[in-house]
Amino acid sequence: MKSYFNVVFAFSVLLFISCCTKKEDTTKPEETNISKLFVENQYDNIIIPAFADLKSNTDVLAIRINNFANNPTQSSLDSAQIAYENAAIAFQYVAPLNFGPSEDGITGLKENVNTFPVNTTDIETFITNNNFSLNDFRRECRGLGAIDYLLHTITGSDAAVLAKYGAGSDNRKNYLKAVANKIKSQVDAANDKWVAYRTTFTSDLSTNASSSITKLFNAMLIAHEDIKNYKLALPLGLRAGQTSTQPTQVEAYYSGISMKLIEHNIKAVENVWQCKSKSGTKGKGFDEKLLVINKKDLIANIQNQFNAIYSAYQKVETGRFSDLIANNATNSTALLSNVSALTRFIKSDLSSALGLTISYTSNDGD
């Protein structure tokens, strides 16, 4: 018994000494600090500003939509449309943050506020019935997608929009206001919860399936996959099982700002990866976590791929994405390929290098 322990102990000591003597690129204990800085910076640089920005934009949206509904003129419509665009853009920056306080116990803010495409037939039925309680789970009949539909026409004609808000359009006005107010209240709730979440978020430095970094990583990955699968591949008709393109499936089909939103969404994912705020303040992101373990190649691969995505984006023609799909989708398809090429670096290489689990509720391993 004693000999066993002596052998093991002697061996451990020997090994420890032998290892300590050759200290070329020893990983520094700085890493504890970086884990702490990582969660703090992500919270302060990315999460809180993104939700604050979304909140102020959805507040404005609610005010301007109420103004428009109470007094539908070209000018009140213009300012409501601008407010919609700003809110939709601001939403892209919380898309990679759809976890924790973004969830309401049933689903996330993304599903509640930005389900697309919307079901216009059912929206019209709700309007006809003057049913604007929104007390059900018909998320495809509300949210930013419903505002997109209610404030725009596919031809871009404001006159056609205004015509719908003339005399006897109280039902439509009620529905529009209810949708905007619901967005505001849901965003407010998420924002409040995030503000109160700092201690919880920044005190968990582990990489368990339920830790802050793992949840953030997974949310970032899902946002990336959403761009690929739903914002690009689906309308382009490039998902398995599709026999034709489906231009009406784009995000923001009626206002036609789909591509602009995609650009912001990619930017939002990149910002989380780098922990870079919209104003450009750089914190300790996933890239710095990789730097600590000397994974410079992987950092370069990911950054190069983001750059390739932006170059591909520059080549996409201006105009409505839905029109591009119908006419010439070569460059949008190239954008999709470039977005796809990023997946493996995040999904396998990054998660593996940092020892993160790709799921919240994991199975056992061995």
Binding site: M1, Y4, F5, V8, F11, S12, L15, F16, C19, C20, T26, T27, K28, P29, E31, T32, S35, D204, L205, S206, T207, N208, A209, E225, N229, A233, G237, L238, R239, A240, G241, Q242, T243, I293, K295, D297, L298, N301, S340, T343, R344, F345, K347, S348, D349, S351, S352, A353, L354, G355, L356, T357, I358, S359, T361, S362, N363, D364, G365, D366
Partner: protein, 443 residues
């Protein structure tokens, strides 16, 4: 001479010994199975693992096994609970072990993406319990059917369990003798820093030296622990280190009930006297008729075959040329526990039979996250999934589909992810089986 050797071996392992170690093993095993089945149920994993996914990865050669509907899945788990309780109490033990064997293995065979070494271990124990009379005393059966009551069992019934435990640890140790584990301290170098928040020891995990130390200690522990459990002088300390080792790995890694099962089963190495002492504290039941049966020739032959199989099967990987960790041919059922960090990204493309374009598959439509993760780096599962997609999309397109390809990138122990095979390869033309998968790229 060989015949003589076998007959004297047969005689030796048929000698009587006290049943107490076996009875405690039965009680502990039954209790642990009851606990782990309840845990699995309460975590909601019956739903998420066996009911929600549209596709399941059957084991090679078992695709004929009908996939039960949700009601029958719950029936299987109820059967598992009842039989675990039966084993624990020694109540209708023969029936319980049979029911346990059937339900547990049926569930395991449903989907290999959930394969775990400790599930395989439980499967093997469930097989052994079918022929081990662990209910002859200290069991309800011994109260009800007084005729079967006996204090004695043949030695082989305990030896075979000890042998099985030896195999688990020793082969886990042998598997660690590879350059990644010993010379690069991989994957511990990736896994340990992730747990720097552990109290007291956490700060050590930043140092490479810690990963090396743990890799070497882990290897030595696995190789030697059963020997130290074997000798009475070292036993108590060895068991103490088992408890420390398993609590530690259980704390660090998400390995479920594995530490509990191993710690519980290793108790069987303690002496007769120890077991008798423990069990008599709770329960006194003596028997007048000390009946026990020596092992019959047929069973003896089966046990010898079992032992040979257990020793040889983990080495089948030598029959393949390519790197074991990369192709995983010969990886399962070989006690390769927590041995590598591997991840993949698999994008499947289905040809559109109406024109020459192809469509991207969204794996999350058919697989849960765990299944997708496992499939993305295991070639046999990639082929199974491709064949499933073919059937799926024939229904969607209502036309024959002749080509499915996949772009699969895999990273192993922190390497940059590489193409697993030619992305233009038609997966529908590849056959799964025991032959070397030549279509895979080299690592």
């Amino acid at each position: 001479m060989v015949t003589n050797l076998f007959s004297s071996l047969r005689k030796y392992i048929s000698e009587p010994t006290h049943i107490a170690p076996l009875a405690i093993f039965r009680i502990v095993f039954g209790a642990m199975m009851l606990f782990s089945t309840l845990r699995f149920w309460l975590l909601g994993w019956i739903e998420t693992q066996y009911i929600e996914p549209t596709f399941h990865f059957s084991y090679f050669g078992f695709d004929w096994l009908p996939y039960p509907n949700p009601f029958c899945i719950y029936l299987l788990f109820i059967g598992l609970l009842i039989s675990s309780l039966g084993i624990f109490l020694g109540f209708f033990y023969r029936l319980s072990t049979l029911l346990f064997f059937i339900t547990f293995n049926y569930i395991e065979l449903l989907d290999k993406s959930y394969y775990l070494n400790h599930y395989y271990f439980v499967s093997l124990i469930s097989l052994l319990l079918l022929v081990i009379p662990a209910h002859k005393n200290y069991a309800f059966d011994a109260l009800i059917f007084k005729k079967i009551r006996s204090d004695l069992v043949p030695k082989w019934t305990i030896y075979i369990l000890k042998f099985q435990l030896f195999i688990v640890y020793f082969f886990a140790g042998i598997a660690k003798i590879n350059s990644d584990w010993l010379l690069d301290a991989m994957p511990l170098q990736i896994w340990l820093p992730a747990h720097c928040d552990m109290p007291i020891l956490g700060f050590l995990f930043h140092y490479k030296e810690t990963a090396y130390l743990f890799s070497w200690l882990g290897m030595l522990f696995d190789l030697s622990i059963v020997f130290f459990m074997f000798f009475s002088k070292t036993r108590i300390w060895a068991y103490f280190s088992i408890l420390i080792f398993h609590s530690f790995t259980g704390y660090l890694f998400q390995i479920g009930v594995f530490p509990l099962i191993m710690s519980g089963c290793m108790l069987i190495f303690f002496s007769d006297k120890f077991h008798q002492h423990v069990i008599k504290k709770f329960y006194i039941q003596t028997s007048e008729n000390q009946v026990f049966k020596p092992i019959n020739k047929l069973l003896f032959g089966c046990v010898i075959c079992y032992i040979v199989f257990q020793i040889l099967f983990p080495f089948r990987y030598v029959l393949y040329d390519k790197k074991l960790f990369w192709t995983e041919q010969g990886y399962r059922f070989s006690w390769r526990v927590m041995l590598m960090e591997k991840a993949g990204t698999a994008n499947f493309y289905v040809e559109n039979p109406y024109n020459n374009s192809e469509g991207m598959v969204d794996n999350s439509e058919f697989l849960n996250i765990h299944q997708e993760k496992q499939m993305a780096f295991q070639p046999d599962m990639i082929l199974q999934y491709a064949n499933f997609l073919q059937q799926k999309y024939i229904k969607v397109y209502k036309k024959e589909i002749k080509k499915i390809r996949a772009e699969v990138y895999v990273t192993l122990n922190g390497s940059e992810s590489k193409l697993f095979f030619d992305p233009n390869l038609n997966l529908l033309e590849q056959k799964d089986g025991f032959e070397e998968k030549k279509w895979l790229n080299d690592f």
